[in-house]
């Protein structure tokens, strides 16, 4: 088991991403949000998570991907941070996967821009790549965007 890791997986603009399952508090379906004027574009809005006010960040915006179609509702992946829970909006949620550590490879140097910064590497699964997102960096710099 030591060389296996568990990831919560999701889709963004056709890519398959994973984040450490222990960081994830819960997954909730899209709910009505309160937009925040003057906020950085990555901030999608605020949601009421059982009495707690949680900031929802649009991961597509964070990763500088094109916005999703207005008809597609994103899903909230709620992660713990030192500053309380934060929701990451993704296109669609995948399974929790156990992946062998040896299938991991660091990001190639050819990756450009924000992806180079936020994607730590990829797990080579049988028929596709699982991109490992650096949660700390994803949340940390979003304030300066």
């Amino acid at each position: 088991m030591a060389d296996e890791r568990q990831y919560c997986t999701f889709f963004l603009d056709g890519y398959y991403f994973g984040i450490d399952v222990l960081k994830v508090q819960e997954i909730i379906r899209y709910q009505e949000m309160t937009r925040v004027p003057l906020a950085p574009p990555v901030v999608h809005g605020l949601i009421n998570l059982r009495g707690q006010i949680v900031t929802a960040l649009d991961l597509r915006r964070r990763l500088e991907m094109p916005d999703r179609a207005a008809t597609e509702l994103p899903v909230n992946v709620v992660v713990h941070t030192d500053d309380g829970a934060v929701s990451l909006l993704v296109d669609e949620i995948g399974d929790v996967l156990s992946v062998p550590e040896k299938a991991f490879e660091r990001t190639p140097e050819t990756l450009q821009g924000i992806a180079q910064e936020l994607i730590r590497g990829a797990y080579k699964l049988e028929n596709r790549l699982l991109l490992l997102l650096d949660i700390g960096k994803t949340l940390a710099t979003s304030a300066e965007d």
Binding site: I27, L38, E92, A143
Partner: protein, 828 residues
Amino acid sequence: MLAQSPQLIENACVLFAIPSVLRNAPTRRSVNDIVREFLLETNENLAQLDLDLVTLEQEPGERETLARVFRTLHTVKGTAGFLGLAKLQSVSHAGENLLSRLRAGDLTFNPEIATALLSVVDAIRKMLASVESTEQEGEGDYSALIQTLEKLTKSAGPPRSRLAPLPNPLPPPAPPPPPAAVAPPVAPPSAPAAPTNSFASEQTLVRPQPFTPVPPPAPIPFSPSAAASEGTKIIPTPAARGLPAPLEGKSPPDSAETRVPAVSDSSIRVDVGLLDKLMTLVGELVLARNQIVQFGTTQEDAGFRNTVQRLNLLTTELQAGVMKTRMQPIGNVWAKFPRLVRDLAVAVGKQVRLDMEGQETELDRSISEAIRDPLTHMVRNAVDHGIELPGSRMAQGKPLEGRLHLRAFHEGGKVIIEITDDGGGIDPIRVRDKAISAKLITPEQAARMSNRELVNLVFLPGFSTADRVTHFSGRGVGMDVVRTNIEKIGGTVDIESVVTRGTTVKMKIPLTLAIIPALTITTAGDRYAIPQVSLLELVRLEGEQVRKSIEQIHGAPVYRLRGNLLPLVYLSRELQVESTRRENGEVNIVVLQADDRQFGLVVDDIHDTEEIVVKPLQKQLKGITVFAGATIMGDGLVALILDVVGLAQRASVISGVRERALTETPATAAEQGGNRQTVLLFATNRGERMAVPLALVARLEEFPRSAVEKVGGQDVVQYRGEILPLLHVGRVLRGARNNTRARKQRTRAATMTDDKVQVVVYIGDKQRVGLVVGRIIDIVEATITTRAPANRPGVLFNAVVQDRVTEFLDIEGIIRKQNGEPRPQGRV
């Protein structure tokens, strides 16, 4: 193995949750219960000891206070012996010996004794801290202290035999031992901690019998106001409220010990964590209540509606009750100040008397915590920098003893705390020069700041007026931290200072943070909450009124509210959202107070006032100054809370000098080739084009000429319940004083011009003055690029504004000139 079906997501709100239990299992320190109880109780008593000793220093005759100090030390000693804390026992014992001589009247309290006894308190505190963290007394060596104490004890000479019997909880005193026994070789403080007593000097107090478990410490009279211990709060039950709180110097005499059990029976210790949790729960309940109440309005069932009504009332009462449990008198925070001031005054060689007024003023616990450090800092500053050395005070003819006055009171739903000293005051010129040399502001910025604004520059980060760094303050950090901390809890802080007369620091603090009444409004379809404390009134304009009463001053909309111009701020514009208001519809104005200015916030719709639970915004949104937080509304959705001051600054309603000073470095100012500022352009009655910074202008008014009255050759008007002196700008600049010729001129001018006078109301440090101008030209934001020195008195400099040479009026200068005051040299 890939994505789960979308249906599943639709149906289940929570797909999985990871228990957070795994992550933190707090490891509690293994200090046993008795020790913990001892630490808790002693820490509480130490705060009181500090107070009592300082009281005694001032009033050595206070026997009850002395008795209380004695009892406390005795209890510490006893329990320390019981727990095998030898050093603690020997130090408190030596202190107790000295006290017993004081009690007997063999010695009188003096500063030397006070210092020694305060050192005992410090030593005890240090050892307790060590016990708490390591369960050991620590490595400290207190033999010197013990020797000092014994020397002082000995100075009383042999104890007199008429030594009064000690109060009940103490063992009966031994017959006076021969003098030799009073000064035995001190047992090394590191003596093994045996429960038996090995101190020879103990004989002066206790029979030479094994120091077997001390009788359980007598219940210490327990003053709720002194319960400044970290971590717990005492809630007196109604029965206990009737008892007088044993405050400084007014404690019940020894005989009152019989009443003590009543206090301890009727109050309980509650963990503050529990209270915090309770408060959070009540917050949630308030939200749920709001939701139910909203739902209730859609229901017909009378029974249901009655129940909702009842739930509503009960929740309100519960909320008030829980909030009350968290209220603490500010005296708790102040309790350490007498000691602090005394120690600091002694250390810097000053004499300071500390007065406190309004100790009973209550604040929420979280706020007490938050203001503790800022207050301490201000008090330190006042003693260290504010109050002068006795020599200097004598030279100025002030009383040798400086006065530091702390005052707290409730006003308009806020707590006001004032710290006043009668020291040297803050010199605005010195502050200005320091700020310029530290590159915190540019000389241009400084030029258009009032003295009061200059004094408040001390709140900028990196500012220090202290020429020397002392052990206590003056390191250039602090005042900005003070302001940051105060503002973090929604308070404000302001300094008023008169050179040579003293300084007053005024803080306005909200009573509570958690639940506040707020008005909800809508703009662009989004709801926002506005804290009620900033709200002055609501104005609705319809149809014809809209067109008639909203006027423009060069694109800046204003509304005439009872004759005064109220600047209007459109929320949708400030938030950069699209207003959904139809053009022909009415205009809703929320009149708000930000700092000392009023402005009208134009919103789409105004709804109800309700209690909201303030929740902080997360760090991703911290930088947006127009929001103070967020809350959950009755329908479960989140609404943002507007920060009225932040909004006013964004809309430039209130002077943003400090923000500009923070962000605009001289370099960027130079890049712009000058300094951008909003100025009021006007013409004098001779048509000279002049400007004043808008920040200096309180209002623009128009008076009928008939309203101008003359008092002793001075033109005045009645204005907002005051008499406003008028200053004719054009005339003063030409050098005319209030002589006959001027009066003739004035008469002629009056007949020449129309029947209105245009007045720019300026609020200076001391007084308001109305500047009579020919006409108002415009309010513009201008980058002042070309500057030339003034070529006549009353003008600061000449500059090009809107492609025309414009004179910048020196308001302070012409006021001085009008009053016949000479130009100040050096100090203002």
